[in-house]
């Protein structure tokens, strides 16, 4: 009996910390989602059933915000993946100055979201922004574009910033995976007369598949959850047209102080991401990835 308990005792400190730091807030936020919990009315906190969820359904902007969230995630992940992959393949071969080049292109990953947000907010400023200036000099526009004040464009700016910031992460992960592929496999393929394209799809991709799956899964969840760029660049505006679910949740919690409604949004986010993770892992046959 004593022997059986021993591992649990060793695990206890970690379990307690996990329970306190993750378990408690998680359970509390789920409870909050079913409460009328407004910091502006601290004496009137009570259970209100599904009211918070009903409020979301009745929100005329809800559909747009959910649509925005999906566009934001899908385009950002796709952009980061394609450009990150290209960068990794380009960096795989040895060339002069590769070290310096590599450290420069990996730099965006080291920036905080706040800094990236400010850089893009200023670059896309409708009056003084460098982007309008460049487009004007290239003769592509004859009138300044109000990037952050126009529905559609404002979300696009956030997506561009997110892609720019996340490319290095994909590149680093994919490059590490590429470098771990044994060269003799390629040599054998060469001897068998296999072309470059076929080599990429038949050797490279299967080898790096586990890395790709993990990276895409992680980035999707991170991007879906991230709100810093949205809040800093557009604050969801104009008229919520660049709002995403987590940014909306943030504004409801810390702008309107409606923690109940924000918690309901949080629960929905959690469900979406949980389902996504399960479906994604199942669909990509993660268990079997990397088996040859």
């Amino acid at each position: 009996m004593k022997k059986k308990m021993e591992p649990w005792l060793f695990l206890l400190p970690v379990l307690v910390i996990l329970l306190l730091l993750f378990g408690y807030p998680l359970i509390n936020s789920i409870i909050m989602a079913f409460q009328n919990y407004k910091l502006t009315a601290p004496n009137d906190i009570h259970f209100n059933g599904l009211d918070n969820f009903a409020k979301l359904m009745g929100d005329p902007d809800a559909l747009m915000i959910i649509k925005n969230s999906f566009i934001y995630v899908i385009v950002s992940v796709l952009g980061q993946f394609l450009l990150g992959m290209t960068l990794a393949v380009a960096l795989k071969k040895q060339f002069k100055g590769r070290g310096i080049y590599q450290s420069i292109v990996f730099l965006p990953w080291a920036f905080s979201g706040f800094v990236v947000g400010l850089i893009f907010r200023w670059s896309f400023n409708g009056e003084y922004g460098v982007v309008n200036n460049l487009l004007d000099k290239l003769g592509l526009i004859d009138k300044n574009i109000a990037w952050l004040g126009t529905p559609g464009f404002s979300l696009a700016v956030v997506i561009i910033a997110m892609i720019w910031m996340g490319i290095p992460f994909f590149a680093i992960m994919i490059l590490a995976a590429l470098q771990s592929i044994p060269t003799d496999v390629y040599e054998a393929a060469d001897v068998d007369g296999c072309g470059t394209v076929r080599q990429f799809f038949q050797i490279t991709l299967p080898y790096i598949k586990p890395t790709l799956i993990t990276t895409i899964l992680l980035r999707t969840i991170w991007i879906f959850n991230s709100l810093d760029l949205v809040v800093i660049i557009t604050d969801g505006g104009p008229a919520n047209t660049s709002q995403t679910l987590p940014a909306y949740m943030y504004s409801k919690a810390f702008g309107s102080y409606d923690f109940g409604f924000a918690a309901a949004l949080g629960v929905i986010l959690m469900i979406i991401l949980g389902v996504y993770a399960m479906v994604f892992l199942k669909a990509t046959k993660y268990d079997k990835a990397g088996d040859f």
């Binding site: 009315a41 902007d61 300044n144 109000a146 604050d235 104009p238 409801k252 309107s256």
Partner: protein, 457 residues
Amino acid sequence: MKKRILAATLAAVMVGGLLAGCGSSDKKSGSSKDSAKDGGKATLRFIDVSPSPERQKYYENAFAKFEEETGVAVKYESVPWDDAADKLTVLGTSGQLPDVITTHPLWLGQFTEADWVIPIDDYVEENGDQFVDAVQKINWAQEKERYGHVYSVPDGFMVKGIFYRKDWVEEIGYDIPTGDDWTYDAYFDLIKALTDKDQKRYGNSFRGARGAFDPLLAYLQSFTGGYVFDEEGNFILNTPECVEAVEKWCEIYKDGYVPEDSVNWGFVEMVDNFTGGLTGTLSNDSEVAKACEEKMDASKWGVLPMPVSTVDGKMMNTAGSPYSYTIAKSSEYPEESLQLIDFLVRADNNIEYCKMGGLIPIKKDVGDDATYGEDGPYAVFLDELNDPNFTVPPMYGPFNYTDLHQDMFHTELQKYLLGQQSAEDVLTHIGDELTTRMKQYLADNEGSTIETPKTMQ
């Protein structure tokens, strides 16, 4: 055994530490003892509830001067703003409030109800004339109406005005209307006249994001004498006149007299783009003058009064005082305390104080001060405070509307600016929500009535 000794020692150390902690805090409270005769002279206690190094320096200098003039010493105490309400409540309950207290307007109800502060009606009677009309006719009249007596002297005023580019106006030779002709329509005309996109000049720092509805509310109120609701709690700012006003207000955005990006502008962007030279006018509180002074040449900017109503000539404005001074009932030296307050609001001291936070002094006579005097940039604000048409309308309602202010108000307006709904929709949506809350408030608070606008009459 060893373990036990170790445990006992540790426990002893901890208990010792606790006691030491208590001891030091005891000492601390002992040092802030009640006002005392110090060698026959009075020593007053003064508490600041919004301390900053700048404010502390100001007060300590003023107190030194006060002691020099009167022989009464003053001890400066402070409590961080976040704990202020709690601490003052504890001090009040235990009869240990400092002699002079900087008081937030919202606390005065509690202070008077608990009988912690003394009325200063005689002082007001005797010296009232020296103060700007707004202090007498709005602040003190309101205090008298609510609490039966006057208890406090405000520290300064936050008033609204229109900041404008004096140099641009001179350059285009524009004649800005004055008096009754300075209406919102005249204001829009000025905005249009100042716009010159070839020179990268826009007429106005338009506010499209958080807080966008606040200046518009004042404009709409100019059609209803300042009222937002009728007696039953129905929102009344949705008349055809008001719908047209919203359209006019947004026309300057839709027709390109303000930067297109400004649909996303909040306070910071408005001020930055005005001081940075992109926009020609800006409607906001007097605190903006501080930013203008710091970033712009004095010849480039000026202040205009808020436009007046085309209906009744009233000027919708605000007259908020961050704090006011009150005297504790427990004070042994009420006379000296009143003397101290009178000293703090004396023109020279009050001017110095107001300059720290972009406030407007509360006394009429500011002499030829470079900032507030007749030729100074703040002179307009003082004129406003003495203008018989100066009106302080209520805001959105007596209920909590933080959530609407953070989201719905400006989002609804943005949707109209972007052509996603009509001006009528904006007022209907906002009006319905405000009506619901107002009616709920009236139902929950039996006997309560609709707040009336404060006028100088």
